[in-house]
């Protein structure tokens, strides 16, 4: 009985996503076409990837508010290098990602080394990054023209015109999921997030793990920045605004705990991000006022949190059957 109930709860995200798709398919016009689905996912790839990134930080219990800004900084850096120095695209991307890793490391310096409050450190970081990036771009849009247009336009005809970029997205998701699920690093990450004191006491180097988690988060967000400038074809100064909140909401929606120690990249965070993306694309497809979209997103987040609390309660409250009840003390046996 109980296990069944938990199963339904843990599939809740698939169910929610399916319901959203069905509702909009019925109510919208041509919503469930391959083309429009591809478009939603492709344009949403920065959000999906940032959600993956922030999951690494959340898992060790750090609420990183600078993730949107890191993606922005990486995009600006890569864009400027291409535009002004004519740097090869791949190299520019690498620089952008490296910048992301570096910012993650700076964050960890304050959070892990100087033991400052993670939320405030990353909030400050977000403001600083955005200010610096604006100085570099003179607050003007940087167009990328030919540098990325081929990449943006590439389609796979065999798959109904799937954008090539989506392979990149899938690769990022697979790698992140793999790291979290199958490597020692991933397991240590969960252990540290679950209980830092215990982790330290049994000999895990918690500081190093947290630092690595924040750097991974930074790097993944850097990748998101690259996707962002490619899908847009230019670097706009208000890019990725408030993505930190969307990404954290998406991760939590996907079952990642804000306290750390519990969560997953796929299915968790990815589905969470997809739900938020399809809600907004579906609503604009139906012609709903754009002001209503955040409202509905908010409602969905509330519902998700409620489901999450149900899940946690049923998990932590009653211990399942135990073997001990069956065995009587040896001394009592005749």
């Amino acid at each position: 009985m109980r296990t069944k109930k938990i199963d339904i709860l843990s599939y809740s995200n698939y169910i929610v996503l399916a319901i959203i798709l069905i509702v909009f398919a019925i109510g919208g016009n041509n919503f469930l076409t391959l083309k429009s689905i591809y478009a939603t996912i492709n344009n949403g790839s920065p959000l999906i990837i940032i959600t993956c990134g922030v999951t690494f930080a959340l898992l060790v219990g750090v609420i990183d508010l600078s993730v949107g800004a890191i993606g922005y900084a990486a995009g600006v850096a890569a864009g400027l290098l291409m535009n002004r120095l004519d740097m090869p695209v791949a190299l520019a991307f690498l620089c952008g990602i490296a910048l992301g890793v570096f910012i993650g490391w700076v964050n960890s310096l304050f959070i892990v080394k100087f033991k400052m409050n993670p939320m405030l450190v990353s909030l400050g970081m977000m403001l600083i990054i955005r200010a610096i990036a604006r100085i570099f771009t003179d607050d003007k849009t940087v167009t990328l023209g030919d540098h990325v247009s081929a990449m943006r336009k590439a389609r796979v005809a065999a798959l109904g015109g799937m954008p090539m970029l989506m392979f990149g997205l899938i690769a990022v998701i697979i790698v992140c999921t793999f790291v979290l699920r199958h490597t020692p690093f991933g397991s240590k990450l969960l252990a540290v997030g679950c209980d830092e004191k215990v982790a330290r006491r049994i000999g895990i180097n918690t500081d190093r793990i947290k630092t690595a988690a924040l750097m991974t988060c930074g790097g993944v967000c850097g990748i998101a920045g690259c996707f962002w400038i490619v899908t847009l074809g230019s670097v706009v100064t208000t890019g990725l605004n408030s993505y930190e909140f969307l990404a954290i909401a998406a991760a939590v929606l996907g079952g990642t705990s804000l306290l750390g120690g519990r969560g997953s990249i796929y299915p968790g965070s990815v589905l969470g991000a997809l739900i938020l993306l399809f809600i907004s694309s579906g609503m604009s497809n139906m012609g709903v006022s754009i002001y209503a979209i955040p409202f509905v997103r908010g409602i969905i987040i509330f519902i998700a949190m409620y489901v999450d609390s149900l899940r946690t309660q049923s998990m932590l409250k009653t211990p399942m059957s135990t073997v001990q009840a069956k065995s009587a003390p040896a001394a009592a046996k005749p």
Binding site: A191, G203, Q324, P329
Partner: protein, 509 residues
């Protein structure tokens, strides 16, 4: 790793601000021997083990020698590498992770598929853990999430972890405080087996019977100093207690059988989600009622369901107020009761707050002024100091942070907290877990005193001796059901086991 032939500690001291937890302690230990460490709460036993386990650094001047060579144990990892494995007093697990991950958490890197591989070999991990759990005679599922385990199972998991780390020096800090009789017997078997294989074993316990049946020699600590070091064959219990306390404990018993007084609380058909099932009992004024059963029999669940911590699926509670026994809701019952829970580290204490704040938290309203609700901190301090004295908390003062107290002293703070509230009925789940024998006797006396004044108690304890000397009547729980009731005159192990044994036989049929 080379075989460890000897471990010597020389002039180990450890000072904390305001406390000298250890001063100049020296001793040696050898393979194939179990060395017991005893002492009252706060004597410095855990501190000693924390130093060996790399969690604390000793003060300058002390030395630790393994095979005659001086070693530095800078952190837990260094301890593991030296072959020291530590089973700590407070359970150290990751609740949301699986059993096998928990066991091998100290070194995930070791479990990659190959030297250069990045991938964890989960199959091999499970196999390894299964091996250790089998050796421990446990049938915990390696794939189970740890939150679903009982305290005893978590304890076993910690032992499996120590074994998997390949330690040759095993430190057990009060390992039996949450195990069932059965598990204790199994643990002793394991320890004896390890001893035969040439492990060096340290064993801390407040149960002197365990010390006498398991250890080869025993070291006594008092106020951080070594006050005794003897072969177990050379001493007896009385001598040992003398070395621990510096004086003898007076045994205490409650005088005579008490006259039956009015019923203050009546529980009818209490059922929880899974456990308990349909339990009814009555509690009289000033009575001390024991609830006895095996670990996992649903004793704590009975309290939790009845007091509204978990969902109560069925049942009624009656409480005597204004002379009449009337049905009462759980919420309305709260002001009249206290509930001392089992897990001091997750639901018994505010670990990062002071002793004073912890003690007064049970009835903070009492210290607030009528008009503005401001707290009278002076009164708080005075009352908590007097309670600390009554239950014998060893601390620098009432402002000490609770997490810095020794395990047993933390437990005493919980007891003090509920004595401060002075409710009509006090529910206690394993109230003296980890408390030393001297303090145990004092707490028992306090319970007797309070009950004379009309306070009623419902007490869960796994310790037969304690529950029999403390209670006026004992109800027996088995698999969530009430299977027996024994009154003071008939107390004996057999009479308590009778209900359980008959149920087991039914199962066998």
């Amino acid at each position: 790793m080379e075989k460890i032939q000897s471990l010597e500690l020389k002039n180990i001291s450890k000072s904390f601000p305001g406390v000298k937890a250890l001063s100049d302690v020296s001793f040696s230990a050898y393979p194939g021997k179990v060395c017991g460490i005893v002492g009252v709460n706060g004597a410095g036993k855990s501190t000693m083990m924390n130093i060996l386990g790399g969690l604390l650094q000793p003060d300058e001047g002390g030395k630790i020698l393994i095979n005659g060579r001086e070693v530095m144990i800078e952190n837990p990892k260094a301890a593991t590498e030296l072959g020291i494995a530590f089973i700590q007093q407070e359970i150290q697990v990751f609740d949301t992770m699986h059993v096998y991950e928990n066991v091998l958490a100290a070194d995930f890197d070791k479990w990659r598929k190959g030297k250069n591989s990045l991938v964890l070999d989960r199959k091999a991990m499970k196999k390894e853990v299964q091996k250790h759990l089998d050796a421990l005679g446990s049938n915990i599922d390696v794939d189970a999430p740890v939150y679903s385990l009982t305290v005893g199972e978590k304890q076993l998991l910690q032992i499996a972890r120590a074994l998997s780390e390949g330690g040759q020096i095993l430190l057990f800090d009060e390992p039996t405080s949450s195990l069932s009789d059965n598990e204790i017997a199994r643990l002793f078997e394991i320890i004896n087996k390890l001893k035969a294989q040439g492990y060096i074993i340290f064993y801390i316990s407040h149960f002197l019977d365990e010390i006498f049946s398991l250890c080869d020699n025993v070291i006594v600590l008092r106020d951080g100093k070594k006050t005794g070091d003897a072969l177990i064959s050379d001493i007896d219990k009385e001598k040992l207690v003398g070395m621990m306390l510096g004086h003898m404990v007076e045994g205490n018993a409650r005088s005579g059988v008490r006259a039956q007084s009015e019923v203050v609380l009546k529980a009818e058909h209490i059922s929880g989600v899974r456990l308990p099932k349909d339990i009814s009992f009555e509690l009289h004024k000033g009575e001390i009622l024991g609830v006895w059963g095996l670990l996992g029999s649903g004793r704590s669940e009975l309290f939790n369901a009845m007091l509204g911590i978990d969902k109560m699926m069925g049942g009624r509670i009656y409480y005597r107020e204004n002379g009449r026994l009337e049905e009462i809701s759980q919420k309305k019952l709260y002001p009249h009761i206290g509930y001392l829970t089992e897990g001091r580290h997750y639901d018994g204490l505010f670990l990062d707050m002071s002793i004073k704040s912890n003690i007064t938290s049970s009835d903070i309203g009492r210290f607030a002024s009528k008009f503005l609700g401001t707290l009278n901190t002076k009164k708080e301090a005075v009352e908590s100091r007097s309670l600390m004295k009554q239950v014998n908390v060893k601390a620098t003062d009432e402002n000490m942070i609770v997490s810095k107290l020794s395990g047993g002293n933390q437990q005493k703070v919980i007891i003090a907290k509920w004595f401060l509230k002075d409710p009509d009925i006090l529910f206690m789940d394993e109230p003296t877990k980890g408390v030393d024998i001297g303090a145990k006797a004092e707490i028992q006396n306090l319970i007797f005193e309070k009950s004379e004044k009309g306070m009623s108690f419902v007490i869960i304890s796994s310790e037969l001796e304690e529950i029999m000397s403390l209670c006026d009547r004992i109800i027996v729980v088995y698999e969530g059901r009430l299977v027996g009731e024994v009154s003071k005159a008939d107390f004996s192990k057999d009479s308590l086991m009778k209900g359980i044994v008959s149920q087991e036989e039914k199962h066998a049929d």
